[in-house]
Structures are given as C-alpha cells and as structure tokens.
Amino acid sequence: MLPPWGDSPQGEGSTMSFELETAANAEHLRRVAIDPLSRVEGHGKVTLLLDEDDHVAQVRLHIVEFRGFEKFIQGRPYWEVPVMVQRLCGICPVSHHLAAAKAMDMIVGARLTPTAEKVRRLMHYGQILQSHALHFFHLASPDLLFGFDSEVARRNVVGVAAEQPELAKKGVLLRKYGQEVIRVTAGKRVHGTGAIPGGVNKALTVEEREYLQEDIYRVVGWSREAVEIARRLHESNRRLYDGFGTFRSSMLSIVAPDGALDLYDGQLRARDADGRILVDRGDCSRYWELIVEEVKPWSYMKFPFLRSLGPQEGWYKVGPLARVQNCDRIDTPLADAARRAFVDFGAGRPVHSPLAYHWTRMIEMLAAAEQIKDLLHDDDLLGTDLVTQGARAERGVGVIEAPRGTLIHHYRVDEHDQVTRANLIVSTTHNNQAMNEAIRQVARTYLDGRKLTEALLNHIEVAIRAFDPCLSCATHALGQMPLAVELVDGGGATIDRLVKATEATRC
C-alpha cells in the first residue's frame, strides 16, 4: 500500500454524512456563526442552522487547518526541519520539534542512545506538564469552577486569578516549571535546537539537573492535587459531567509495546466504543495502512478514520481520554492509582464524556511529573553519547502523543538531503469528527427550540474546549482576533452582528 501522497494527495474515502451534519433545504434556515471560538487555540468557527422555530437543523465545526506546510518545508535540508516546524505552532512547538526529529531519526537510520532518548523524553514530559497545566488551570477551570452560564468577565484567566488566587498561582508555576524543563533540554525557551536527527545536541549538566530536582517534588504534589480537583468536580455533578456532549466512538493512541502509557514512543492501538481492542501493535511508520483521511466539501480539515471500519464507523477520539483508557497501566505509582480510580468510575465500561478529558488530562499531568522526577534521578541524562547514525532511508515517519493527541509527521528526503514531501496529521484533525459529534449533542440538548443566548452558545464552546483543540497557527499579531457572532437569514443577509472589540484591536 502506498503512503498518502502515492495515489491521492488530498485524502480518500467517500463523503459519508452524519446526523445534523447537513440540513435539507438549508436555504430556508437561519445561520448563526460563532467566530472565532474563544479560548480555543487557533481559528475555528461553528455554524448552526436554525429553522423558524429555533430548532437546530445543522451544526458544523469549521477549522481553518494550516495549509501551507508542504510549500514551506519543501526544498529544505532535512536537518533544518526539527527547528523549522516549531514555528508552525506557538502552543505546542516542542511536540512538532520532537515528531520531526523522530521522523529524521528514520532518515539517518539512527537508533537513539539512552542519553538522547531520555533527554528527549524529559523535554516531552515538560511540554505535557506545561500544556496540561495551562489548559486545566486557566482555560477550562473558569467553566468548571464558575459554571457554563457564568458571565464572560469571569470566564478567563484573570477571572480565575481573582477568585481562586492559589489555584491560579499553582497553575502558572506548574507551567513555569514545565517551561524550565524545556529550556534546559532544548537550550532556549523558544526556538530550541535540543533534538537533532539521530539524537540531541546537549545533555544536562549536574547544575541543571540539581536546579530541576529542587522543585520536582512540589510539582508532583500540586499535580496530585489537580487530579483530585478534577475528580471531585466530576463526581460532584455526575449527571452533567457524564452526559454533556457525550457520544460513543473508538479511541486511538500509541502505547508502549507492553501496553503501558507512553507519550513519547510506541505502537498504534485502537479500541472500539465498548473497549475491545480493534488494532494493536500497529506500525507507526506505516500509519496509512490503518488510518485514512477523508475530505469533505464543507471543511478545510480532513476527517481521519480507521481503514478497517470505514468512514461511518471508523472515526475515533484521541488525546488524554483515549490514552488513559487505551493503555493497560501507567508505569508510575501515583498516576497509575489515579488511572485505576478513573477506570473504576467507569465501572468496567469506557468513559466517553468529553468533560472527562479534564480528569484524564490531570492524570497525565501527574504521570508526566512523576516521569520527570524519575528521569532527574537517572544518570543517563548527564551522558556524553548524544548522536548516532545508520543506514540512510528516503522515508521518515515520527509519531508522538502530543498534549492534545496523536501527532504524525511524515517526510520524504531525496539524495540531495532535501525534503520533497511532507504530510502532517495533527491531534485536532484526528478529533475533527469527535468534536463535531460533541457539539451536535450539545446543540440537541441545550439549544434546540430555545432562543439563543451567549450563555447557551458558551455551552458549544465548553464542549470544544474539552478536547483542547490546537491549530498550526502561530501568527497572532495584534488586532487579528476579534470575537464575532453573526446571525444570517436564509437568503444570506446578515441580520445582526456582535463584535467584541478589544484593547488590542485598536492598535
């Protein structure tokens, strides 16, 4: 079987349709656009089509996926790629850096030294820690702590800091710690060059290790507290948390060869909605044999599905909720105890509720903190054997579990060392159908037949935020991101429009 660009560069598969995906007689319906979603990383838009009685007839999440990558990277020497790809995303540059480095390991035929692999793992766990901390303490917690209907002024970072100063402080400091791990391993706070094809360009010094060791036990302790907060929130309002936007689907992630949680390396595993294993020990370097990307005319973002099940049944979730349930165990004791508590909560059945992403995200943050602690006591971090090479290959695939889910980088490099092809499948693309299903569920439950209010529209955003979508969109210049809500009639005329001007937009 050929790689994705071998026969069909635009993806493949038929255009299957799901309930509420496409309305009949759309020209007679009113259209509401939420554009862009607040507190979602990137450019997303939700459109709702309502009939004259405010019944929901169609719901779509449109995401402007990054399209220029191939052009950007083509013709570059392969060793530049792990550095360049960090500029694709200002939120998770380390994930792209490491996925590209892993792909280039294949190109140079490297088998990593223990030092190289452990320094990279340390960097990756630092990224998981800081990303998950930001999401839980500052993006999700306003919704969770204050309620979905709370006023906009409270639903932001500053709102949390005002009402829960200790929580906000721990969130900021956890994030700071993760970033210091990245700085030490990558060499710089941003635009680091730590991972290179075949290894790393630096190990840790004794002083750097001691610097990170100093605070790691507090980081583990705070991460434990965060798991407890997430668990209590879920248990205290179980009806809401279990049901909000809930849909059944398969789940996909990589796991270690022995079935343990592994966010850095492993083999593809998928379970069906009942938890039965559908795919196991899938070869990451031939991911296209398992995963197909479908193109739909209304969305720039592709819809991946498991080849064996087809587009209607084969779509899946990725990210913390999938990973924590896909693995058989976690190799650190506190996180594994937290995982078992979560599994017990599901009473032997997989948990599918989007709001459970928050709980599992914190279990992973705890796992990352414990893994950082263990690595900081491993002398391999101080080693001097940093880079290896072997037989050269033309194709390189790097798969990593980024904070938001499975991230695939795939390159072809010619005999002149230049990249000729590139294909990326980011976590948000894997979750595309899942997020669409979640918001359709929410629209059915909360919006159907009711007059739209900002609080109701926030319910849609709460469902999307649970997946923590992140896009390859590191541009952010002042004035580019006003929040606009439009009400458009069936003829396409704008009836009403609300734009929230910000300090920044007046620059």
């Binding site: 052009k71 710690y177 002042l478 620059c507």
Partner: protein, 166 residues
C-alpha cells in the same frame, strides 16, 4: 523557581518582544529583539516568544519598567508607542493574551501593581507563512526602534540600576 519572588539579578528594564519569525511581518517583534540584543544595552533584558501567555507575568517580577513589542495588523503606521494599563481581555482567548492582560494577570497573581509598561506596536502588512519581512514593515521597524531608544536609556539612569526590593 516555584515562587513569585523576582529572580536575583533581574535587569531593571524588560523588553518582551512577541511574534513568529516565519510568518512574514509577524517577525517584527523577534527582529526588534535581535537588534536590541546586539546593542547589549546595560540594564536591559530582552526576551522573545511566539505569543504572550499567563506565565509571562512572572517575567515582570523585579522590573522597574517593561516594554512590549509586537507586530500590529491594523492601526497607525509606522508604529504606535503608548502606555499600557492592566486590563482583562474582552476576547478571553487563550490563543494568546494581550499585553494588557499579562499586566492584569501580574496584578491578580501578586496582589501588587505591575511595573509601568508601554506597548510598541509596529505596523505589519503581510503575515503569510514563509513570507519575508515586507519592505514597508522593515521601514516601520527602523522608525519604531529609533523612537524607542530614549526610553531604554532612561531605565539605566543613576539611581535606577537595581530593581526595587521585593
């Protein structure tokens, strides 16, 4: 590391330049940072990042003055240099925080007022991935940095070399 105390030896003036060097005129911030680093101004620390996040509030600890530099997709050309006051973001986006929201986060986290801060918003025009800096933006950058220089020198006037006690 895990405290709200200023790091020892923090330079009294912080320049925090924001932008993605690979996105056309979004590189204005990092390019401004690069020029300032090359000048090695005494008492000035220059940091750069893709975008502002809540933890940048911690970089403000122990400073007597802060300058944010960013590309602006709209507004006055060649640049605007104006004081900043703490304010929550109306857009409440995590895509990035505005400079004013970083100041507000500082206030909420520390319970004290942030150091006096200004925003240097340099007008950009083309933000395409892989595009070079436009010639108009390059000219705007020169003008903006020339205007900023007096403010950077004031920071190291006698009596202002050290940050105030925490």
């Amino acid at each position: 590391m895990l405290s709200l105390q200023p790091p020892p030896g923090a330079a009294p003036l912080l320049v925090l330049a924001i932008g993605n060097p690979s996105r056309g005129d979004d590189a204005l911030g990092p390019l401004a940072a690069q020029r300032l680093v090359e000048l090695a101004l005494p008492g000035v620390e220059v940091l750069t990042d893709f975008q502002l996040q809540v933890e940048h509030a911690l970089d403000l600890l122990g400073r007597i003055r802060v300058v944010f530099i960013d590309a602006a997709a709209s507004g006055g050309a060649p640049f605007e240099l104006r004081p900043l006051a703490p304010a929550a973001d109306a857009r409440h986006s995590s895509h990035s925080l505005s400079p004013a929201a970083v100041l507000e986060a500082y206030r909420r986290l520390t319970g004290s007022e942030p150091p006096p801060s200004r925003l240097l918003a340099i007008r950009g025009h083309d933000f395409e991935l892989g595009a070079p800096l436009s010639s108009a933006a390059a000219a705007n950058l020169d003008a903006a940095l020339a205007a900023l220089m007096p403010a950077l020198q004031v920071a190291v006037a006698p009596g202002h070399e050290q940050p105030p006690p925490a």
